[in-house]
């Protein structure tokens, strides 16, 4: 059952990362990876809430492990940082990776606090 829920969440999360990245790039350009920052923040916010509730094992598998896990990514973040370092220099690359970590941590904290306050 858990396997099925993780699979279902991931089958939605991974395509949604791709579609979000396309939409964000169409609006804000592809020079800086705003799309990956967007999905990583959104996924951290939602997972923070899932942990803060705390949600049961089924919701955690579906929404947490499956959906949020597949929506967010370290592989794309690291590759885009490498590409920024080669194309634009060290400052944009550092801003991307450190800004992502700071924003993701803030989003996770906000999601957790919101769920605690409402739950």
């Amino acid at each position: 059952m858990t396997v099925l829920l993780v699979a279902l969440g991931a089958a939605v999360g991974a395509p949604l990362r791709y579609l979000t990245d396309r939409a964000v790039q169409a609006r804000f350009g592809a020079a800086f990876p705003w799309g990956t920052l967007t999905v990583n923040m959104a996924g951290s916010l939602v997972l923070g809430a899932v942990v803060g509730l705390p949600a049961g094992p089924a919701v955690t598998a579906l929404v947490g492990t499956g959906f949020c896990g597949a929506l967010t990514t370290w592989s794309t973040l690291s590759y885009e940082t490498l590409r920024l370092a080669r194309e634009g220099g060290r400052l944009p690359a550092l801003l991307n990776v450190l800004g992502s970590v700071a924003a993701g941590l803030a989003a996770a904290t906000a999601g957790y606090a919101l769920a605690r306050a409402l739950g």
Binding site: D21, S44, S75, T76, Y79, L82, V101, G104
Partner: protein
Amino acid sequence: MDPDVDLRVPRDRRELAAHPVAVLGAIAAGGVLGALGRAGLQAAFPHAPAAFPWATFGINLTGCLLIGALMAVLRARGGGPPLARPFLGVGVLGGFTTFSTYAVDIHQALVAGAPGTALAYLAATVVGALLAVWAGDALAGRLLVRGSR
């Protein structure tokens, strides 16, 4: 080129309109495989909130190493087969690695009163991920050069 999508690349820009079912299906299928691999490893190597999340750490660094290698190979082959990047890059490796669990585990370590673990995990993943993607790219690039001689 980008592991997810780069709208400056004509092939990336056109792929969704040209083959929406194949592209989104490949991403979903790859994402499921990657996520199940991640879930299996995390279940096999669980960690307490105040302890270092070794499973997710290893998953993310491995995924970064592999994306560096994959993108070097695809770049050398003019992008490779049309569904290779959607399936392997967006799907499998994007679904295998996770940023949300990384961020939440740092927060959970802080909540559990282990700021040292939180900071060590935060920094080790950033440094490790960047070294891994660079190493994957460099190693694959070197093998490709050797293979073409």
